[in-house]
């Protein structure tokens, strides 16, 4: 049957009117049912939270399998599966569990450091894993917000790296080329990063509004344009560290460095607070301002937005300026908080990270922050894991990809775990669209 007809049938079914049926009438108010019942319902129906948690567990499980079965000891033990089956399973478990424990120790807390602290060791090492998690999460939060906020306006921002570079370049330049007093210097550099990112993002919004150029293509391409622009700039004398053959900028002035939050032994710095503040600001803009209202309306139903007197084109420009500013802040946070210079590859893998956390966080500021903290933890833990168990850190990337893959396909999770379809409103899925949309 044609999809048109299906629409038609659905429309007919929708337009028929009458008293709300009992099936839908009493819903949406869990207070009417018992709490346990509601809880059970939330767990057994494939709703958003359930799907996210299950996706995470699935990814961890598959990641564990990969870790175990690329380990020579495990493979050797499995070679003797029939003579010593117990050993085969035990080594596999030990290998995977060992890697994850190391990851946990690197990301959250290391019991050895705690016990050492009780015996007079440095207290700061207890908090070092959390500090590293926060440091890793900072740029992911900011770029993730850049994707999330655009997503709320119906735009797909795959250009976090380009906007990040825009921010990093300006913040870095202000950092090493300008001389200003403490605090002010850092603030001006951060503001410069914000502007730099906004310019790059805004250009995309402008192109989309004026010519209809698809933002996905433009942002993908802009990443590479900005990467090469960065390389080009780092080749210029104005940007290059004197006497250094490598393309790397001079170090930024100490006045421009974002101060550490808990002393110099922990890397966590003001950048993390900026990220959290930005998340709060995004929440406020989205939910408490007329701009946010327009943005969400345009993203949810552009036709209704037009009928209500809004201009989707104007909104696209505004939201891309905003998104660019956020990613630009990430650039400033990295340059001023951890790297202290501008170098090639400074944009890391933020394009993909930002998309994955925004998807995982369902494009809400809170969700994005939580997802970013998870990813920050995976990153921080991954480094420790590699150092102590020799499991390559790239397994983190695999786990991230798997999480998002599973989250993006709730029907798959429901099928695997035999969950029910959620009641109305849950288990939302990204609406697929083409280049044309």
């Amino acid at each position: 049957m044609s999809s048109e007809l299906a629409d038609q049938a659905e429309e007919t079914a929708k337009s028929e009117d009458g008293p709300p049926s009992p099936a839908t009438g009493g819903d949406g108010r869990p207070g009417a049912r018992g709490f346990t019942e509601a809880l059970l319902d939330a767990v057994t129906s494939g709703n958003t939270v359930t799907v996210t948690v299950l996706a995470f567990l699935c990814a961890i499980f598959l990641g564990g399998l990969i870790i175990a079965f690329t380990n020579t000891t495990v493979l050797h033990a499995w070679g003797n599966l029939f003579s010593a089956p117990g050993k085969a399973f035990a080594t596999a478990w030990d290998t995977a569990a060992g890697a994850y424990v190391a990851m946990f120790e690197g990301a959250i807390v290391n019991p050895h450091a705690v016990s050492a602290a009780f015996h007079g060791g440095p207290v700061s090492t207890v908090f070092n894993p959390l500090s590293e998690t926060a440091v890793n999460a900072t740029p992911i939060i900011l770029t993730g917000l850049a994707v999330a906020v655009a997503f709320r306006a119906g735009l797909f921002n795959i250009g976090a790296a380009s906007q990040f570079i825009g921010g990093a370049m300006i913040a870095g330049w202000i950092g090493f080329a300008v001389h200003l007093p403490f605090i002010l210097h850092a603030a001006v550099a951060v503001a410069g990063g914000l502007v730099g990112g906004a310019v790059v993002g805004g250009a995309v919004g402008f192109l989309k509004a004026r010519t209809g150029a698809h933002e996905v293509i433009v942002t993908i391409m802009s990443n590479y344009v900005m990467e090469y622009l960065l390389l080009y700039l780092l080749g210029l004398t104005a940007f290059r560290r004197p006497g250094n053959p490598n393309p790397i900028s001079p170090p930024i002035a100490t006045n421009a460095v974002l101060p550490h939050l808990f002393g110099s032994t922990l890397r966590v710095n003001v950048g993390f607070l900026i990220a959290l503040a930005a998340a709060a600001a995004v929440w406020w803009v989205l939910n408490r301002t007329t701009i946010g209202f327009e943005l969400r309306t345009v993203g949810s139903n552009p036709r209704a937005a037009r009928s209500a007197g809004m201009s989707p084109e104007r909104t696209w420009i505004v939201v891309m300026l905003l998104a660019g500013a956020l990613a630009g802040l990430a650039g400033a946070a990295v340059v001023q908080g951890t790297n202290f210079n501008v170098a090639p590859q400074i944009y890391g893998t933020y394009t993909v990270d930002s998309i994955t956390v925004a998807l995982l966080g369902r494009a809400s500021p809170t969700g994005t922050v939580l997802a970013s903290l998870l990813f920050g933890a995976l990153r921080a833990g991954g480094v420790t894991m590699q150092a102590s168990t020799q499991v390559p850190v790239d397994i983190v990337t695999v786990i991230e990809a798997l999480i998002v893959l599973f989250v993006a396909a709730p029907p798959l999770m429901r099928a695997v775990f035999r969950l029910r379809e959620p009641r109305a409103g849950g288990g939302e899925q990204l609406e697929a669209r083409g280049w044309g949309g």
Partner: protein, 523 residues
């Protein structure tokens, strides 16, 4: 080939789109299926083409019972269909479109374009279709595209051809051309099922007529029946909707539309020189069969479609090229035709939807800061005042029934100062209670001094509300008549039967009295 339908029934939820339909199509005849929009014609054709499975009833082809599970079954049984939306690939040539799915090939799966071209040329010549097999479909006018669809059916040996509202997209000349082709096909022994709501066309081309209304067969008049007879059968009047209203007390002219010309999204002229004046405190009903430019008229008034020529003014202020925001700001309230697409954001809460076009005004915001407490307060008030039944003001609008969604829109649009109320199909698909409610509100708005324009293809609604009735046909206002005009007269105007009539109103004597109408209609 003979085609018989017996007791075909199709339900969508509680809506019965087709209610025990019987239909006989003899070989070599043009059988017209006449009915208003929503009468169930298209559903019936989809059943016949295997796109939908009927809930009850059976189909016979040449005396054999058949079941069509997919269009392929229907095609194999010799049924061809020309859809309202053409099933043509725009970037393909005519020949490619025609042979798609049954392509002549040379070795290695290479397309035999010459043969494809030849086959199309043959059919084109035989029926005088004048189609160029090498032309790209997207470059062809719709009339020719339609002929390509016909060739597509013919090349698959269709003996029964279903034409779904084929003239809706055609110019008068193209329509004449289509009729000529239909007669040629008939002469070659094929049957044609011709779906239409245009009386003149049915009279011009059909051998047999079946009239459908609200999913049922209500009569099979001879094609020689008068316009009035056909119109009465088709339009009918079975539900008496009366809203208590005082006679209008029209004040100053508020809305002026002068010589308005508007093109639709495809560039076709949809509104063709419309002039209207609406006074404060009166309701102008714009009657007409759907698709005669009403939607484009509303959109142009709202600044949602650009105006080609002409002028729009509200309260003396020229709004011809104004943005939608400016139009809303000038005191125009708008109830759009498609509430789910244009009127609501379904994922937004009831409260948010209630401020969808006033969120940037006081008291809902100050500066760029929204004031959710004010939004909520207003939402609670509106919910009570307009009897919107929803779990709370925080539930998403998509959880509301259609009637309550519409009440929400009405509440939003009538909760502010309005000078003009523009409502397009304000009660489509609503239950009787909601219709009454919406109607009462609209009348109250008139009494409060708004100039009201109601666009509707439901005659009942037009009669219930209007102080004056303007009839739109093919983008033009073909008459402005008082609400005392008999339904048959109005039906005739709507069907384009008397497009030459002026604005004086119509003498009533040729219309059928209401009682006869209810006689034709089964209880």
């Amino acid at each position: 080939m003979e085609l018989k339908l017996r007791g075909v029934t199709k339900r969508f939820g509680s809506l019965v789109a087709n209610d025990h339909i019987d239909l006989d199509v003899a070989a070599g005849e043009i059988h017209a299926l006449l009915g208003e929009n929503g009468a169930g014609k298209t559903t019936l054709m989809n059943v016949l083409y295997g796109l939908t499975q009927p809930d009850e009833g059976e189909i016979e082809v040449d005396g054999r019972r058949v079941r069509f599970r997919s269009p392929k079954d229907a095609i194999d049984a010799g049924i061809g269909m020309v859809h309202q939306h053409f099933m043509l690939v725009p970037v393909f040539t005519v020949a490619e479109n025609v042979v798609l799915g049954r392509e002549p090939t040379k070795p290695f799966g290479l397309l035999d374009r010459r043969r494809a071209r030849g086959e199309v040329q043959d059919l084109s010549n035989r029926y005088g279709l004048s189609i160029d097999p090498d032309a790209y479909v997207e470059h062809l006018p719709v009339g020719v595209q339609q002929r390509v669809e016909i060739v597509k059916a013919l090349i698959r040996q269709a003996n029964v051809l279903i034409l779904d509202e084929p003239t809706a997209v055609l110019t008068p000349n193209e329509t004449q051309e289509l009729f000529r082709i239909m007669r040629e096909l008939k002469a070659s022994g094929r049957s044609i099922l011709f779906i239409s709501h245009k009386l003149k066309e049915v009279q011009a081309v059909a051998d047999t007529v079946t009239v459908l209304r609200r999913g049922r067969v209500v009569g099979s008049p001879p094609p020689s029946a008068t316009d009035a007879e056909l119109a009465t059968l088709m339009v009918g009047r079975d539900v008496e909707l009366r809203v208590h209203k005082e006679p209008a007390e029209p004040g100053d002219v508020v809305l002026v539309v002068d010589g308005l010309v508007v093109r639709d999204e495809t560039g076709r002229i949809a509104v063709d020189g419309v002039s209207l004046e609406v006074r404060a405190g009166e309701i102008l009903g714009v009657a007409g069969v759907q698709g005669n430019g009403q939607t484009e008229l509303c959109k142009a008034l709202m600044g949602l479609l650009p105006v080609d020529r002409g002028m729009v003014a509200v309260g003396g202020r020229d709004l011809t090229r104004a943005s939608t925001r400016a139009v809303l700001g000038a005191g125009v309230s708008y109830i759009p035709e498609d509430r789910q697409e244009d009127g609501l954001v379904e994922s937004f809460s009831v409260a948010e939807n209630l401020v969808l076009d006033v969120y940037d005004r006081r008291p809902f915001s100050s500066g760029i800061s929204l004031r959710p407490d004010r939004v909520r307060d207003a939402a609670r008030t509106s919910m009570a005042e307009f009897d919107i039944r929803a779990g709370s003001i925080e539930v998403p609008a998509k959880t509301l029934s259609g009637g309550n969604q519409q009440k929400l829109i009405v509440a939003r649009e009538l909760s502010r100062e309005t000078r003009v109320l523009l409502a397009n199909q304000p009660t489509r698909g609503l239950d009787v209670g909601s219709i009454e409610f919406v109607h009462r509100r609209i009348v109250a708005n008139r009494d409060a001094g708004s100039a009201v324009v109601i666009v509707s293809s439901e005659l009942d609604e037009i009669y219930a509300l209007s102080d004056r009735i303007a009839v739109m046909y093919e983008g033009k206002i073909v008459g402005v008549v008082p609400p005392t005009t008999p339904a048959t007269e109005l039906g005739l105007l709507m069907a384009g039967a008397t497009s030459t009539r002026g604005e004086e109103g119509l003498p009533g004597e040729e219309g059928l009295p209401g009682e006869e109408v209810s006689e034709v209609q089964p209880a």
